[in-house]
Amino acid sequence: MTRNRIPAVARFLRRRIWQVVPVVFGIALLNFLILQLAPGDVVDVLAGEAGAATPEYMAQLRASFGLDRPLPVQLAYYLKNTAMLDLGFSFRQNMPVLQLILERLPATLLLMIAAMGCAVVSGVVLGVISARFVHRAADRAVSVFVLVTYALPTFWLGLMAIVLFSARLGWLPSSGMTDIGADLGGFEYLWDVARHTVLPALSLATFYLAVYTKLVRTAMLEYFGADFIRTARAKGATETRITLFHALRNALLPLMTMLGLQLGSILSGAVLVESVFSWPGLGRLAFESILARDFNLLLGILLFSSVMVTILNIFVDVVYAVLDPRIEL
């Protein structure tokens, strides 16, 4: 079974990769047009920072950046460059956009994976506990806990975590991804990064944690009433075995669907958390590029993240098919 599914997966991937192209093109077009609606451009910001810029100087800057050309021409250039995988140049940061993004990408990926992993694992554990002891004390405690974490704004939770764990207790660092000035190597470097990751990842995870807990709880409760659970019980399986191998195994399917849908939104959640914890990731870079009207960079980030989300969704589809044999790729 698993063996003869591999060609199916390959065929599916080939088909889906081609579908990415028009999707990304559409996103690029929309991004460009929407950003044109925002007032101001990078020249306004640069001139404002310089303090004394003459209109002539600003016009000259615009001409050198190509911002004086008519909109359709700018769009044509943008699409052409994008098609050639050239994301352009950030005049603000004085670096190619792609290089900027690739520098920041690992930090964001680390934060995303850590946060999502944490949310999924604890969501599953709490959801299973809730479902197993439904309407009992443990279920109620979990309910209150996830409701509180869900209701608290992520940035506020992050700030409070900094106050408690960094300022008061001094257990964990509050900002950045590594200790400034420390030149560590190997294992010590990993440990340093891990310590820096804890607070931002947990802050980002809290919101999703609640969703996953409730989702797993509901799905598990539904499956506990299912016929195949009764069959498993009639076979003589223990409740633990029924919970893990039969109910949870099936409850992972809706969880996977939700996870795929939320991969996009976790990037936007990262903007807040990265700002609060001065995390050197894509989210903060996007935020900075908006403030600076650095549209080249912003467009680059938006396009890059949309490609990332699209690809991750394809990956989720494959995982889904592996988890659920009824799904044909």
């Binding site: 079974m1 009433g225 299912a226 016929d227 195949f228 009764r230 069959t231 498993a232 019980r233 009639a234 076979k235 003589g236 399986a237 223990t238 191998f245 039969h246 195994r249 099936n250 399917l253 988890l323 659920d324 044999p325 009824r326």
Partner: protein, 353 residues
Amino acid sequence: MADLLAIQGLRTWFHTRAGVARAVNDVSFAIQPGETLALVGESGSGKSVTAYSILRLINEPGRIEAGKILFNGTDLLKLDDKGIRSIRGDRVAMIFQEPLSAFNPVQTVGAQIVEAIRLHRRIGRRAAYHRAMELLEQVGIPSPAKRVHEFPHRLSGGMRQRAMIALALACEPDLLIADEPTTALDVTTQAQILKLLKSLQAENGMGLLLITHDLGVVAETADRAAVMYAGRVVEEGLVATLFTRPFHPYTAGLLASVSIDDLPPGARLPEIPGTVPSLLVMPRGCAFAERCPYAAGTDGCLDHAPAFLPVADDHRVACFRTPPTPRPPLHAEATGEAAGALLPLDAAARVVA
């Protein structure tokens, strides 16, 4: 012979918000080794709840309130969790009405049979798979080596029920409980599955408790039958006796409603007037009294529930009418504006011996 299974005074009640539903109320019957007992009744008569009570598979808000379930002399209701688990699937196995939903959709058929084996036998995974293939072959599934790796949704309904039977036979149980095993299948497949069950029973010598609403199935398959009505067994006896000389008016009514071959074309189908009483508000007396042609004017029927007593050898009935005279079917009496026929039409369409 010692009873394989003896149920005595079983009460399974459901404590719902609307009140206590007495789904099974003082049910007693026994099954001998190698025997087939059919538990017959319409939907809601408590036959499935009785079956699930045997392996204590009743979910909240249901509770087994009283009674004994003696399996080879051991009271299953007194066992601890571990004890009952060692009976489930090993000594007493079950098959279900809907073979598709009864299988875990994300595991292969083989994996689920292997689980059933390895829960009770200390054997390796490879050996268990081998055994699973043998079982699939035994229940007549073609190319079992391939099917063992198939997911349930890839099999046809009949194949799935065969696989379900293979799963139940995994540990060669002494008693097989079949809860409406053919209801979800088409008529040809039904016959095949029943034949399979009979032949497996002949091979293994296991007892079979067959839950069904289909009197045709009873006639073809069972040695004895117990007729349930509103949570009680109203009549129990050999199938031959029950079908030719039914004693309880309800049994007679049931039989009348399916023996329609003798009726002239266009005639109104026979039915039992009235409806089943709500399990929440059971009458003080006999549950069937309201609909019974013989209870009219008899205060005893409305005031007291009749005891379940023998009227002949191996024939017990819960009815106040004492003379054990064979009675004609109910056609003539059963007239009037009654709600719904008692049995689904597919049952009525079957010929009764």
